[in-house]
Symmetry: C2
Subunit: 321 residues, 2 copies
């Protein structure tokens, strides 16, 4: 379908993003670069945990726990039971095998290695041919503002199970965060052929990536067509609190709202067949639409949606010429 050797960049957060990234990886292999949200990263039990990097990494390696939506399949919980026995914090579950990722990462970060270099080595060990890049090697921390409180992301997402209203989001450290140097280097002859915003939560997963000051400028500078896949299908999120957050922020949860959110950045939006009736509104914003099945239930669904995205990109690019 695509005979170019130029790379394709996907911006991704957790589960939904990881699924499309996996579909793209099946088609593109080492031509795929996934730029991953690190706004969810945090320190817990002394370990540096990068939930979205791990979800994408485990998904592309075929070892993710599909039922759970995080962590590894076939995991054991001996560590966690002992943490509870010792009176330690057990609200964030870490499996015995999963901790190996966090411990290796933490040890190397403390020794001065970058998250980029560590992620590359972990991916190599797991046999992943696509390139996974944290959006930045500098810390950016997504913070939820609710009822006068500033909640670190995992407190909101895991400990409180998103059960407080989001009034505002901020990305602490973003102003000083440098774009991942390997992203920044994709310019000129090395510029990607296309950029895809995966169906991740626009507020919690994609906005933190876009909060890195040089990110939007880099996207423009590549001259590459940019498409997004709507994570909102039929007014609801496939998974996670995207629709709930949109309501709390007084935004109608719809594919059209996703288009409005990304207006000025994207050339096209992939929407689900059930959202066909939004297509005209979205096109009126100057954004092309591709209507297809976007719900990824099987491994094959991931590949099918990825194929649809690549075909849509060709159409978007032709239109731009």
């Amino acid at each position: 379908m695509n005979t170019s050797n130029r790379r394709i960049v996907a911006l991704a957060g957790g589960v939904g993003g990881a699924k499309l990234a996996d579909g793209l990886a099946q088609l593109l292999g080492d031509r795929l670069v996934v730029v991953v949200n690190t706004g969810d990263d945090f320190e817990h039990l002394g370990l540096h945990i990068s939930p979205d990097l791990d979800t994408v990494m485990y998904t592309l390696a075929g070892i993710a726990n599909k039922e759970q939506g995080w962590g590894l399949s076939g995991e054991s919980w001996t560590f966690m039971e002992q943490v509870a026995r010792l009176g330690g914090p057990d609200w964030f579950r870490l499996g015995d095998r999963d901790i190996a990722t966090h411990a290796i990462r933490t040890g190397r970060l403390r020794a001065g290695d970058t998250l980029t270099a560590i992620t590359a080595d972990l991916c190599r060990a797991l046999g992943i041919s696509s390139q996974l890049l944290p959006m930045s090697d500098d810390p950016v921390r997504t913070t939820i503002h609710s009822r006068g409180r500033a909640l670190p992301f995992q407190d909101y997402f895991v400990r409180l199970r998103c059960d407080v209203p989001v009034e505002r989001l901020s990305f602490e450290g973003a102003a000083a965060a440098r774009l991942n140097p390997l992203v920044d280097a994709m310019r000129g002859d090395e510029a990607p052929e296309a950029i895809i915003l995966c169906p991740s939560n626009p507020y919690l997963s994609i906005d933190p990536i876009l909060s890195v000051p040089a990110m939007r400028g880099w996207i423009k500078a590549t001259g590459a067509p940019v498409i997004a896949v709507s994570p909102i299908v039929g007014g609801a999120a496939i998974k996670g609190p995207a629709a709930k957050i949109m309501q709390e922020l007084d935004v109608q949860p719809s594919a059209a709202s996703v288009a409005a959110h990304y207006r000025g950045l994207i050339d096209g939006l992939v929407i689900d067949t059930v959202d066909d009736f939004h297509a005209a509104d979205i096109q009126a914003m100057g954004i092309a639409t591709n209507v297809t099945g976007t719900v990824m239930r099987s491994i094959d669904d991931r590949k099918t949606l990825a194929e649809s995205c690549l075909a849509f990109l060709q159409a978007v690019r032709s239109r731009a010429r």
Copy 2:
């Protein structure tokens, strides 16, 4: 045997020290304070590991792995297998349950808690009534100097299996290390009734404790009788490289050499029946001797040796009066 309510302090390193500490704990309960070597502490895979604190803690909790000499009994190794699979360092073995201790400790240290406070909470969770105190809350790092190289302790002890000659030892950070404030507070009415140097390696386990500048002065200031138990029996160490190190440092491995090493600090030395012939030499140094079986094979042996130590302390104190 002992009707006082005053505390007894034991100085201890790893396995041998932990066994006698356990014997003393069986007799003394919350009257026992174990001051533990932290010169072996190190950072590994992002975790702060305190091997001697853990060995004493696990031994007193009755959950130590007796065959292995470190870690927990009935341990599983899922984490370690995954570290190896991911290409991480696997020369220092960490069991799935054991990591809970390190992770809780590391998380709290990073949050600003002291090793003393963290150890107290871990001991409480494990049902230990005796008090375990790190020698200092400041970092002291035992370093082995061999053939022009300065080896961190665990590199020497675990990675190289002690298979390089020790030319010199240093205790990095010791000059600036403050005595554990809870040790320092045991003065006047709160001074301990007696101090026991456990049969730990004098060079690798007890000397680091004594390297904390205020330690020797505190011991003197308590006015308490001080005895040691020789870790050298019949010219050899029960476990570990004590005898090997003595030879490398041109010291005859013997109970008499242990007495000479501690001269000026101890009032009495407990030696094994096989070392009876050294008693006169040791007494000539002004050090009383107690000849008894010192090899602890069973849990009961620990208690028996502890009883012998307490009886010997009574005799040493009577003599001093």
